[in-house]
Symmetry: C2
Subunit: 212 residues, 2 copies
């Protein structure tokens, strides 16, 4: 089984590395980071650079596609190497997935039209504008399309996907292996639990604010 994680400048690192950390433990699996060509790709913080070993042309038929989000998503919404590859690879993929605003890229390619999906909590109206039916869920399965909420949600999504792909026990084994027993010191991880002034902080600055 081949899993391809797409990278682009300005991606959010945990969006990509969270699912990688879960999915590379699946049996008989090859995980490949890819970009329009083999190169090094820098995240939105400008302090983390990951190698995309493959170009999209090298990985035309992955079993699982993972598209991360991040501010760089905005440059991936129009026809170009990522969109072109995505449309072709999706024709034969078993699962097409995203984390955070990666779902906007899927939706921009027309893959989520009329489908239930999720995204970063700030981007739900943007996702609706692109034709999907946004859900306030940690991750959403609709057919072969699996979308996760913001950043860290990719870990939860990948574990659920691992369960579908390889069975519950395999997913539970992976969870124990990465000791994923989360104990956040604060309860501020969603707009429903965070202080209103923090929610306001982000909505006031969001690049999607015009649609919120």
């Amino acid at each position: 089984m081949q899993i391809v994680i797409a990278l682009f400048d300005g991606f959010t690192a945990l969006d990509a590395v969270g699912p990688h950390q879960v999915l590379h433990h699946l049996p008989d699996t090859e995980v490949v980071f890819a970009a329009e060509r083999g190169r090094y790709v820098t995240d939105n913080s400008h302090t983390l650079t990951l190698q995309a070993e493959a170009g999209y042309a090298d990985v035309p038929r992955p079993d699982i596609i993972v598209v991360p989000g991040g501010p760089g998503q905005a440059e991936q919404m129009t026809p170009g190497p990522l969109q072109d590859w995505l449309l072709e690879a999706d024709e034969t993929s078993t699962w097409t997935t995203s984390v955070c605003t990666g779902s906007l890229i899927l939706a921009g390619a027309g893959l989520l039209t009329g489908r239930k999906a999720t995204t970063n909590w700030l981007a739900h109206e943007e996702l609706r504008h692109l034709g999907a039916i946004p859900q306030r869920e940690r991750y959403v399965f609709d057919g072969k399309y699996v979308t996760a909420a913001g950043v860290s949600a990719g870990i939860d999504m990948a574990l659920a996907l691992a369960g579908r792909v390889a069975g519950d026990e395999e997913a539970q084994r992976i969870q124990l292996g990465i000791e994923y027993d989360p104990q956040p010191p604060y309860q501020s991880g969603s707009p429903a639990t965070a202080k209103p002034e923090l929610v306001e902080y982000f909505t006031a600055r969001s690049r999607f604010a015009h649609r919120v």
Copy 2:
């Protein structure tokens, strides 16, 4: 404030990227990945390569040190570039931290002698053997030393550290920004909650099994 995350061959990616994703959002902060020299460093899955932009000589006095774990930890337990840098950098650091078996590297350097600390759930006896007092906690503060349990625990540790460094509200802001509202689909993230046969699977194969 300068935060240096040490990389070595065979590190576990989420150990490093989890804290990075939290800590790079701290105000007035520079996060730098470093190794014995500036180079590309590949993780234990052999499928993820991160850039260490700096050599240790370039970052002698970080405010915060982060040491990840992973199978490659075994090669970092004796005097060499990482241990030498760690001992010197620790003299002036405000916080010296680790994730997963990274605490064995700190302990191997003598930094955790007589201190409460934690590590991967499979390595507690190894940590005790190295002079620390192992705790079954998600993360442990003892003076300026902060250690996290396995892999994903670095996210929780980093949020708690962000709170100490910049205040609770700043940490809560970061938590909302990365939408860290974990909802694992299974309850299998610790040996206390996982099925006994999964616990046995790992203990039977652990490189620390001789001490468990």
